[in-house]
Symmetry: C2
Subunit: 237 residues, 2 copies
């Protein structure tokens, strides 16, 4: 696969419906990208893919370096990231990053974006999903028990996507960021952040989207997959 193309396994609506018992080997996902986000079987923790390495950020705050050959994912989005825009500057939180991306890449309203930020953060608030209590438990219920953490004065990296509104349900419309500390010991799904001075921002616009659906998966086949836009915004926004 070429660079800066979106590859996605399964759809967010499947997670909403609790389809997370099975998945695809992460090694297969990595054939299509070296940066990205996702989750793990039974929605245990948050996934971040960084320079081809995969980390599982757990609800207790710990981070595990994942072996892609022996671990599967029920949902992941990755790209082979080659930045087309780079800039150094301070970013005042999610809203600031949103504005910056729109300014940096103005003609991407209906395209996908990938972004990576490296630097020192004054503060990062994350949440981490702890996992399903039972098979098919939906993401709204799983995230109702999410753990939140605040990291202060931490060096690390944000990886995120912006998806166009028309893929809501397939993926998350709008911005969606995960964070991992440089020591690879802390991280999660970003609720809010603030940089401490300037950070390095790299981004690329993407016009190719490749979706692979689960096969031989009764949970996926039987799920209703109705659009739950408000629910997705609540747990992923």
């Amino acid at each position: 696969m070429a660079v800066n193309e979106v590859y996605q396994y399964s759809i967010v609506s499947a997670l909403m419906d609790g389809v997370a018992s099975h998945g695809t080997p992460i090694a297969r996902v990595l054939e299509h990208g070296d940066h990205g986000l996702g989750t793990f079987r039974n929605m245990v923790g948050e996934m971040i893919v960084l320079d081809g390495d995969v980390y599982q950020m757990k609800a207790d705050g710990s981070v595990v370096h994942v072996d892609p050959a022996t671990t599967v994912t029920p949902f992941a989005t990755v790209t082979r990231f080659r930045p087309t825009v780079t800039i150094r500057g301070a970013v005042t939180g999610k809203a600031g990053l949103k504005d910056l991306l729109t300014r940096l890449i103005p003609k991407a309203r209906n395209h996908f974006l990938i972004v990576r930020m490296d630097g020192v953060f004054r503060r990062v608030n994350v949440r981490t999903a702890g996992g399903q209590l039972t098979p098919r438990e939906g993401m709204v219920d799983v995230c109702a028990r999410q753990t939140t953490h605040t990291f202060e004065g931490v060096k690390g990296t944000i990886v995120g996507f912006r998806c166009p509104g028309y893929v809501m349900g397939v993926n998350v419309a709008g911005d969606h960021f995960h964070f991992i500390a440089e020591d690879r010991k802390r991280g999660g799904h970003i609720l809010e952040f603030e940089t401490d001075g300037d950070v390095d921002i790299a981004a690329a616009q993407m016009s190719q989207f490749r979706l692979e659906l689960p096969t031989e998966d009764d949970e996926f086949n039987e799920a209703e997959l109705k659009l739950q836009a408000q629910g997705i915004k609540a747990v992923e926004g």
Copy 2:
């Protein structure tokens, strides 16, 4: 690209918003498939792709064999079709075909399907979009002026897709069929049909979906692309 994978250029919501002034060379689309549906610049006519040949079915009832090297499409969906299910039987219209597909391929509720039917039809009702009167005229207005034709006792072929509900707006959720007569002189978007005795039905389930978005296209960049599910059902259902 492998067989039985969906390749799509642009999204149906863009047509709804009247984004149809530009497009991609049809020759590029054919690199990804030999069967499919679509439209042409300014939504002039209905496209059917059959065994790698592309036909433009116009509102006056005529059909043109299209040169893929010199013609562009603002929206098309194709697949390199290799049937995994074939059957011979009578089909009593769109509802009958819908039931038959669900019976033939029961575990495809959340997957894509491609279907082709060859035979003699007692009756085929089609509509054909005549095209935009002005740039950015939306598909609902274009289709308000559509022409309908009824063909009786005609030998021909139906090509169609079934798309899962969660791609509504990206494509058309549900079934969507076009027809072309064996003499390649009549055809259109199917409103209803009835077979005359048995026909040959071939289908395949598809779990890979590849979407290519227009680039360098201000119309696409500037379009709102809000989901108009009712409008899509009205003009494409």
